[in-house]
């Protein structure tokens, strides 16, 4: 089993503990949870989308919540903004085997990946292309980035939407 498959398995296995602690997966981990759900991928079966393996598995934990092993707390600027509104930005990715994974909403994940820049933009592009129903909301993403003082990171989204 490669790094990719192991990461997907860890995402799936962490789901119950994340739910218990009220945390939601963020960043690359959340993107992969959305991609698994949209394509019917399960960590034990064929991977039905093309992407690089997540480098870090992160989650946004509510204040005082216990940490889930292997899932680092997300301390990025977008995560700091979202932590205050987890009710609004929380979602559930349902994997092919029925596992319910607490994740950030897709638009919030795209905002996080835009904020990180670099190769993370490629994952944002894949997320937009594969999970395009309903269409991402650029206004929502702009609002998150502005609140995180990352407004200058918005521009690549327009390019990604044009090539998705």
């Amino acid at each position: 089993m490669g790094r990719f498959e192991r990461a997907l398995q860890r995402i799936r296995d962490a789901a119950p503990a994340l739910e218990q602690s009220g945390a939601v997966l963020s960043g690359e981990a959340a993107a992969h949870a959305h991609l698994m759900a949209a394509t019917g991928t399960t960590p034990d079966g064929a991977i039905l989308y093309a992407a690089l393996a997540p480098r870090r598995l992160t989650a946004i934990y509510p204040d005082g919540a216990g940490r889930v092993p292997g899932i680092e707390p997300d301390d990025g600027p977008v995560a700091e903004v979202i932590r205050a509104s987890l009710d609004r930005f929380g979602a559930t990715a349902i994997l092919g085997d029925g596992t319910r994974v607490p994740v950030l909403s897709r638009d919030a994940v795209v905002a996080e990946l835009l904020s990180r820049g670099g190769l993370a933009l490629g994952l944002a592009g894949t997320l937009i292309r594969v999970c395009n129903q309903p269409a991402v909301d650029p206004d929502d993403i702009r609002e998150i980035l502005k609140a995180a003082r990352q407004g200058e990171r918005f521009q690549p989204l327009l390019e990604l939407l044009s090539v998705a």
């Binding site: 039905l48 989308y49 093309a50």
Partner: protein, 229 residues
């Protein structure tokens, strides 16, 4: 955006899974080979060709038999080729191409032809590749024949080398997001096909270009983690 009288929208973009785009690629490739013009496919079309070739075991599988390709290929409106030719010679070649392609083919000078909805562009010399002029011949020489298959027979498409393509994607200015999408899909396809990327070549070609340094670091980290794995 529908063009009156045309069966396509002018804003439509294509992948190698689309017959009109694949046929345009095959037609241009055949003519350039026949005329003896040194050339290779570059840009977004080259990314598609590499991803498709890596994911279909070098044309052993048909493109339509690999479901990942519908999501892995970034659609584009054009095909780009690097060549070495005098403008007058290229104009003659493109006029032959237009005559053989028939209706819907329009020559737009020695560097461009429209084949139905597909725009095809050519660089003719280093001066046409701003920012990487000194590498032009090396990029052209890296041409690698990739086998792709839509029907019963496979087609050979001379394409810029994989390392060279990655270097251009990391380095070229403008449209960065689409280039990064291509880079990540190329890396994922290489990983899945077991194709080892020679990082030293990418690093040398990228050189000291400041814009590319951070992206190159990301690529190096990605590849080193795969290696450890």
């Amino acid at each position: 955006l529908a063009a009156p009288g045309l069966p396509w929208s002018v804003a439509e973009a294509f992948s190698l899974l689309d017959e009109v785009y694949y046929d345009a690629l095959r037609r241009v490739t055949e003519v350039l080979e026949r005329e003896g013009v040194p050339f290779c496919l570059v840009g977004g079309g080259a990314s598609q060709a590499w991803i498709a070739s890596l994911r279909t075991a070098g044309g052993r599988q048909r493109l339509s038999d690999e479901p990942l390709l519908t999501r892995a290929l970034r659609r584009t409106r054009d095909l780009d080729f690097a060549t070495r030719a005098e403008p007058a010679r290229m104009l003659r070649v493109l006029n032959h191409l237009a005559a053989s392609a028939g209706e819907g083919a329009h020559v737009l000078g020695p560097r461009a032809i429209r084949l139905g909805p597909v725009s095809v562009s050519f660089t003719l010399s280093p001066g046409d590749l701003s920012g990487m002029e000194e590498l032009y011949d090396e990029l052209l020489d890296s041409r690698t024949p990739l086998s792709l298959r839509r029907g019963p027979e496979s087609d050979e498409v001379p394409t810029i080398g994989l390392e060279e393509l990655l270097a251009t994607k990391l380095t070229r200015r403008g449209d960065k997001a689409k280039n990064i999408v291509d880079v990540t899909q190329l890396l994922a396809a290489s990983r899945d096909a077991g194709r080892i990327i020679v990082v030293a070549t990418v690093r040398r070609l990228v050189g000291g270009r400041p814009d590319a340094r951070a992206l190159l670091a990301g690529l190096e980290q990605e590849l080193s983690e795969e290696e450890v794995d």
